[in-house]
């Protein structure tokens, strides 16, 4: 293989196209510059490559390197010293991303597995159809017809199990005669990943009407998921079908050195790579204007969810609708008129590219972000769970806790790192603000590292990790991931003001009272052993009142000791609540308004 020294990677988002240039210097891959430009999939341009070229032009100017030829095409491979790049890669979520409907026989089993397969492949799920979803057949038919997804994934039945229900599902699809979202007159791609015994009848019913692909059953037995083949088929169809229909993508596909990857799929790739290489449990969130994606790897199991209507601009009013005004207001450290707040959120929705000019406006947006992150995380917890319907041997502890099959895999005490990404976190004016938002939204327990994606380049690194994992990891660690610092947060409740946690670190003993947050300066790269003693009612993972010896790391914010209790409860009285919030803002060294 030719040595790769210069890599250009773009991510075509729904509003902005971001380009990064990576170069190998002294044997190490590093980010050189970043450029961006508005995405151009809409009129009057209708061509995604216009935005790509604009973003790359900014990279050219900043890096002093010629990358585009006279016709505006990216020069690959490098033509001569300082001209062109060795590799060009791209991800995309423009034009609404990959929109899918999934179908299964049982909602909590095959349909849920299908949902996980599609989400893991970077799709936005627009509906989940199941034989037992409580809707009448005609309602499902109407829904399938109205939604016009990019593709449909059909699953159900273990191998050797039900055929009848799959035939019924196929008949339902035939009845709806669905049309794809893009490309008038084209046949809708349908992936069948159900009981292998039903392949023939399903093909007989649907073969002539849709673009049918058959892959291995994604739930071959009750206790096993096999999501790989379905995910690969989704990715392949995304490239062949959806990308070819989207404006300018045929041209972009021709430019790239490897297939265009959907943005969330790429982010998932890098998160999995990091979890694997560092042997840790990771939670990552990407909060955008329209959607919030949540990724997790617990015990090596990867899950991704997308909350399609939770975001900071286009979807800000849906956060308002789902969370309610009182849940948003509870994070605001000053009095605000409810009607004015509602109107200002609506105005952000209709003018989504505006930014907070004053601290007061910033605090309001950050209050909304806490709720968007929280709601998306709640959604993630419901889907990232063990397989339902599986008979497993349970321990006495599990029986005592009445832990059911299908419990969430998200275990906050075993979580090692939370990575935040997206404008409101990556571009928060002060890094402490990002740490504080994540602390409130996720309420980490025990000892957890908080980090942010410096300039949102996880998508580009994700697609790079599939080809040059070493380069992706090097850039991720050195230029992308910004460690904010470890958080120590005991679980449980105690009396306000009484000592909650005592920490012995660097030969110093620090006691933090219950209800308070303390920030201890500790530089990035610093790592120390700490002896942490929670009070008798509180737990850090070793048991109530049990001492924990752990390694803690510093970061650009420092070491955070959060003794506000878990779950975090805010005073009901507005004045008392605002007073507490002001104390906590002060603990982080942040102004209130």
């Amino acid at each position: 293989m030719v040595e790769i020294n210069t890599i250009l990677a773009t991510d075509c988002g729904s509003t902005t196209t971001k380009a990064i240039l990576i170069e190998k210097k002294d044997g190490e891959y590093r980010l050189v510059v970043r450029g961006e430009a508005p995405t151009t999939v809409e009129a009057p341009f209708d061509d995604v490559t216009v935005g790509v070229v604009n973003a790359v032009r900014e990279v050219e100017e900043l890096a002093g390197r010629r990358i585009l030829d006279e016709t505006g095409r990216i020069i690959v491979p490098t033509a001569s010293e300082g001209v062109g790049v060795d590799m060009y890669l791209s991800t995309s979520s423009a034009g609404g991303g990959l929109q899918m409907t999934v179908a299964g026989v049982v909602r909590a089993m095959s349909a849920e597995s299908a949902e996980r397969a599609a989400l893991g492949a970077g799709a936005i799920i627009i509906d989940v159809i199941a034989v037992d979803d409580g809707r009448k057949d005609f309602e499902k038919v109407r829904r399938i017809r109205d939604l016009r997804p990019d593709m449909i994934l059909v699953s159900g039945g273990t191998d050797g199990g039900t055929v009848k229900h799959l035939v019924e599902l196929s008949e339902m699809l035939l009845s709806a005669d669905p049309k794809p979202r893009l490309g008038v007159g084209l046949r809708l791609p349908v992936i069948y990943a159900g009981n292998k015994d039903a392949r023939q009848p399903v093909t007989e019913i649907l073969g002539d009407r849709v673009d049918l692909r058959i892959v291995d059953n994604l739930r071959p037995t009750l206790d096993r998921e096999n999501l790989g083949p379905a995910r690969e088929a989704i990715h392949e169809l995304f490239l062949q079908h959806v990308m070819q229909q989207a404006p300018g993508y045929a041209k972009l596909s021709d430019w790239v050195s490897s297939g265009i990857m959907s943005t969330p799929n790429a982010v998932g790739q890098i998160i999995q790579t990091v979890a694997q290489q560092m042997k840790i449990n990771v939670l990552a969130a990407d909060i955008g204007g329209a959607t919030t994606d949540v990724f997790s790897v617990f015990g090596g199991v990867y899950n991704r969810t997308v909350s399609a209507n939770l975001g900071m601009s286009y979807s800000i009013c849906n956060v308002l609708a789902e969370a309610g005004i009182s849940n948003i207001s509870r994070w605001i450290p000053f009095e605000v008129d409810e009607a004015a707040l509602r109107n200002s959120l609506r105005n952000k929705m209709v003018r989504p590219t505006t930014i907070p000019q004053t601290i007061r406006e910033l605090r309001i947006e950050q209050a909304v972000s806490r709720e968007a992150l929280r709601l998306a995380f709640e959604h993630h917890k419901t889907l990232a769970r063990s397989l339902k319907g599986v008979q497993s041997q349970r321990t006495i502890g599990e029986i005592m806790e009445q832990m059911e099959t299908g419990h969430t895999l998200v275990d906050m005490l075993s979580l090692d790192m939370i990575v935040g990404s997206g404008g409101v976190l990556s571009h928060a004016p002060r890094r402490a603000e990002a740490a504080y938002m994540m602390l409130d939204a996720y309420q980490p327990e025990g000892v957890t590292m908080l980090a942010v994606d410096s300039i949102f380049m996880m998508p580009q690194l994700g697609v790079l990790s599939t080809i040059l994992p070493e380069a992706a990891s090097q850039v991720f660690e050195r230029d992308c991931l910004i460690k904010l610092g470890s958080v120590i947060a005991p679980v449980g409740k105690a009396r306000e003001g009484e000592p909650a946690c005592t920490l012995v670190i660097r030969g110093e003993t620090i006691t933090v009272p219950y209800g308070e947050v303390k920030l201890i300066p500790m530089e990035e790269g610093e790592s120390h052993e700490a002896i942490v003693r929670p009070s008798r009612k509180l737990d850090l993972g070793a048991g109530k009142g049990t001492e924990l010896v752990t390694q803690v790391e510093g970061g650009v914010v420092g070491l955070v000791i959060d003794c506000r209790g878990r779950p975090l409860e805010l005073p009901n009285d507005a004045r008392a609540r605002m007073s507490r919030l002001r104390d906590w803002y002060a603990a982080f060294g942040l102004e209130v308004e």
Partner: protein, 372 residues
Amino acid sequence: MGGAYTPGLRVCPGTIVRKERKLPLRGQVVVSVGDSVNSDTVVARTEIPGVIQTLKIAEMLGLEPAEAVAAMTVKQGDKVEAGQVVARSKSFFGLFTSECKAPYTGTVELVSRATGHLGIRMPSRPVEVDAYIDGVVTDVLDDEGVVVETYGALIQGIFGVGGERSGRLCVAVDSPGDVLTEDLLTEKHGQHVVVGGSGVTLGALRKAASLGIKGIVVGAVVDVDLIEYLGHDIGVAITGQEDIVTTVILTEGFGRLQMANRTFRLLKSLDGHKVSINGATQIRAGVIRPEIIAPLEFVEHTDEDTGVSSLEVGTDIRVIRDPYFGALGKVTKLPPELVEIESGAIVRVLEAKLEDGREVTVPRANVEIIEG
């Protein structure tokens, strides 16, 4: 991003407006290039195939799937009438006969040996697309629709609810700062598109619907009033499908905001003209803004501008975010370097002189260009 500002909405007294009118599925175009059309002229039609209704014959007759198929008296492709027997079985040495009848008219499209089901596709439903604006057909998109073109005034709003309507425009307030209240609406406004100023009350919205008013165009509306009028919350800004009598178009936003003077002046000059309006808004992948189109006598050919205007010293702008929300002004300086603003963010800014004389610095992302 060098041009990190929001391109403004169009408020144009005379321009060429082109509208693509497309069917949801392939169909038949019924007009030709050069035809003059009115807003309600049908330009294309198609038939949307009916859904298949499944008759579970095996379950209904208590038979195995293969037996159920044998009992069917119709086959794939047959047309059936409502009430027609589609399956018949005999039991107890042929003494008892059980029958299944088609509950609706349609065509047999599915006979399933695996389930013993019979699928009848119901008749197609006709769908028509009208011209939406008065104008001339300039292009025919094969089997899909047409392009209708007209010369006229075009005003884009910031947000709207309700779909396409047309009617005569009637300005019901004296100034762009006036709120459109219930008492300002009378029987004479029925079937009209009524223009208000800085807002509209909930009472006026309800009265407008009861009077059959086609549309209301105002600067702003209080969020809870609009939700009350619609009967549901608006989560995501994708609108246009609401089942409401009166389409509502906002030119400025939410709350009480004076309609921009030039918008108000233009609407006032169109008083009595026929307009076509659409409240459909989509502020996400494929931005769609609500619009008011008033076909006019052709004056001089002003081709529709497809480029994006740039921000320069002297450009008229409107601030679209607090603390100067709604203020109008002129750009006085465009510093090239990044500047730290009060929130602590480091962004591109501009300096502007507002109409009230204040000289302010605002992020470029927080202004829109007032285009014409």
